[in-house]
């Protein structure tokens, strides 16, 4: 009982922390003179918030992959961003060499990513489930390095982009969003919903959730836990690759961009409640909106955007390590 009271008090604390976090860019902006309360600036603000929500869909998608692996195996995949980057390059290759539409190419790239996930699980992660966290962190970090520099050897460090749906969509007379952003948001919603339904409804999905709750009990109930681990990692890598495909049609990318995605995904799953599927979706939207607010109002924005993710992450860890969804302490 006492714990429940404490936990709800901490939720209020977390809520006030988040309110402060969102207010901070406005305060800094007012102090630096980038906030003007005229109509044009307000339209700008609305555009940025809407754009942030759109971007958040993509963030949510690659965070979901990270949260799945963490929830089921308690492994932090430090190569997650590199898997997003790999997805972007796969899409790029399909687009420029095979002339396949970026969205259509997912039919091709996602199974490939799934297979890569299976291999990673079989060769590397299966042996370290349940070991001290450092082992898995180092393995996945090393894997990330191999992926970064192999990609660099093949594709060089040049930034790549895929020109796709460059037009804008006029939502209201004053708010416009890039078409590619809307398309990738819709795709992200479709894919994450599909995975959610899979986890909730299908037998296999239920097995995944049962393993996440308690692997030993799941095993006693006749669930093949090793197979669940395989499916989980396969699914997570496929989700990361899908995130990469959506990233590739709206941002430039090079082999080293993955690191940032890893850290953003960490921040998102901590904010939402690690291992919590819906939490990751909400966290993704929230981080993206905050980042966009920072880059709109805070001078020296690009570096400060990164600080938003780290600040949010550490703040949540200290106030309520279970995040918004209040995942129980292990």
């Amino acid at each position: 009982m006492e714990q429940a009271v404490d936990s709800s008090r901490r939720l209020y604390l977390l809520a006030s922390f988040l309110v402060c976090a969102y207010a901070l860019p406005f305060v800094v902006g007012a102090w630096a003179g980038t906030v003007r309360l005229d109509e044009r600036w307000l339209a700008n603000l609305a555009t940025v918030v809407v754009g942030g929500l759109m971007q958040g869909g993509v963030y949510a998608m690659f965070a979901v992959g990270l949260t799945l692996i963490f929830g089921v195996m308690r492994i932090i995949n430090a190569a997650h961003g590199e898997m997003v980057m790999m997805g972007a390059y796969l899409t790029w290759v399909c687009f420029f060499y095979l002339r396949i539409d970026p969205l259509l190419s997912m039919v091709l790239t996602l199974p490939v990513a799934f297979l890569i996930g299976l291999a990673v699980q079989k060769l590397l992660l299966d042996a370290v489930v349940g070991q001290p966290e450092l082992t898995a962190l180092l393995i996945t970090f090393g894997l990330g390095l191999v992926m970064i520099y192999t990609t660099e050897l093949i594709f060089t460090t040049d930034f790549r982009t895929i020109p796709y749906a460059p037009g804008t969509l006029q939502l209201t007379p004053s708010i416009a969003v890039g078409q590619n952003r809307v398309i990738s948001f819709v795709m992200a919603v479709v894919i994450t919903t599909a995975v959610y339904v899979f986890l909730k409804r299908s037998r296999l999905g239920k097995a995944v959730r049962a393993t996440a709750l308690n692997a030993e009990v799941a095993m006693v109930c006749g669930i093949n836990v090793r197979r669940v681990y395989l499916i989980t990692t396969g699914l997570a890598v496929a989700l990361a690759a899908a995130g990469g495909a959506l990233v590739s049609i709206q941002f430039g990318f090079n082999p080293e961009t993955g690191v940032v995605y890893t850290l953003q995904a960490f921040a998102i799953i901590i904010l939402g409640g690690r291992g919590h599927y819906v939490g990751a979706l909400i966290g993704g939207l929230m981080l993206a909106v905050l980042e966009n607010l920072v880059s709109l109002m805070v001078p020296n924005g690009t570096a400060m955007v990164e600080l938003a993710a780290y600040g949010l992450m550490i703040g949540v860890l200290l106030i309520r390590p279970g995040g918004l969804m209040g995942v129980k302490e292990d």
Binding site: L137, L143, I148, I270, L307, Y310
Partner: protein, 312 residues
């Protein structure tokens, strides 16, 4: 472990110190700086091992302290005209203060959450160093006035290494170290036995932050140019962790052996495969963590070559 063994180990360390002290005159400039950086990594791995090996709190952001030390040295020498030696003390003090400030809240977190929070803290420090350009010159970095320093920095690093080894050895063989191990094995039980776990964790964390700061300062004066990406480089943290793991976390000799081996491997692959060396390095990390998580010491213990119960 009896007094005789302590005396023997001290004599071994003294012999190593004297050998390294007389070495530079016999070495080429390249080899001298190779030895210097090897010693630096011994310092870094041993310090990381105090919090993460002895106490079991995996710090994934230890490079923050190294970077703080490097910046303290560079700013005071380049902008305020200090002699470089006292700046090392300032860096150490600053790192200690930062370690207490970060450690007090963050050490409440356990396992993976501590690791992630430290990673975030280190990246945050890098961003601060980039953004606060009036103090740090931002992304441009800082060039230090050049001076003939290869001997001075060599001896400074040697002294630092000997001090760090002695400190790690003293911790490893004292009640303090035993208490840290107790926290690693079962923190609740340690607490119940009356160990003030908060204090001991914080003390270990602060100690483990001070030495890397001095190393960072010496490194800044050796290389004469620093910028945020180079001194807050994630891979330096990874190197500390990997070196400790390779040798054997939670021991004193392990991180030393691991640092020497890994830095040598790194240098050799860098010289021999300039394009693919980072791929090879990544593979090496994967293989060590996958097949030797308890390190060389664990390997030796499993075969009965070393005393049991020394490796975490």
């Amino acid at each position: 472990m009896g007094l005789r063994e302590h005396v023997r180990n001290l004599a071994l360390l003294a012999a190593l110190g004297f050998t390294l002290a007389f070495l530079p005159s016999a070495l080429s400039v390249y080899l001298r700086s190779f030895v210097l950086f090897t010693m630096m990594y011994v310092v870094l791995a041993l310090s990381w091992n105090i919090i993460s090996g002895f106490t079991g709190y995996t710090s994934f952001g230890h490079v923050a302290f190294y970077g703080i030390g490097a910046y303290a040295c560079a700013i005071l020498v380049a902008d305020y005209g200090w002699h470089w030696l006292p700046t090392l003390g300032v860096g150490a003090l600053l790192a200690g203060v930062v370690a207490v400030a970060i450690g007090y809240p963050v050490l409440r977190l356990k396992g993976p959450y501590f690791a992630i929070a430290m990673l975030g803290a280190a990246e945050g420090t890098r961003v601060v160093a980039t953004v606060w350009d009036r103090l740090t010159h931002g992304g441009l970095g800082i060039s230090l006035p050049s001076a003939e320093t290869s001997m001075q920095t060599y001896y400074a690093m040697l002294v630092l290494m000997v001090v760090t080894i002695v400190a790690a050895y003293a911790i490893g063989h004292s009640r303090f170290g035993v208490r840290l191990n107790a926290i690693r094995e079962d923190e609740v039980a340690a607490d119940a036995l009356g160990i003030n776990t908060t204090f001991y964790k914080l003390a270990a964390f602060t100690l483990s932050g001070v030495f890397p700061a001095v190393a960072g300062g010496i490194q800044a004066y050796k290389v004469l140019y620093i910028d945020p990406p180079s001194v807050f480089f994630v891979q330096i943290t990874i190197a500390m962790a990997l070196m400790s793991m390779l040798g054997g976390k939670g021991t004193v000799i392990g991180p030393i052996v691991g640092a020497v081996i890994l830095y040598t491997v790194q240098e050799l692959t860098w010289v021999n495969f300039p394009t693919a060396h980072l791929i090879a390095y990544g593979l090496f990390i994967v293989l060590v963590a996958r097949f030797m998580p308890r390190g060389l010491m664990g390997f030796a213990i499993d075969r009965g070559w070393a005393r049991k119960g020394m490796v975490h």
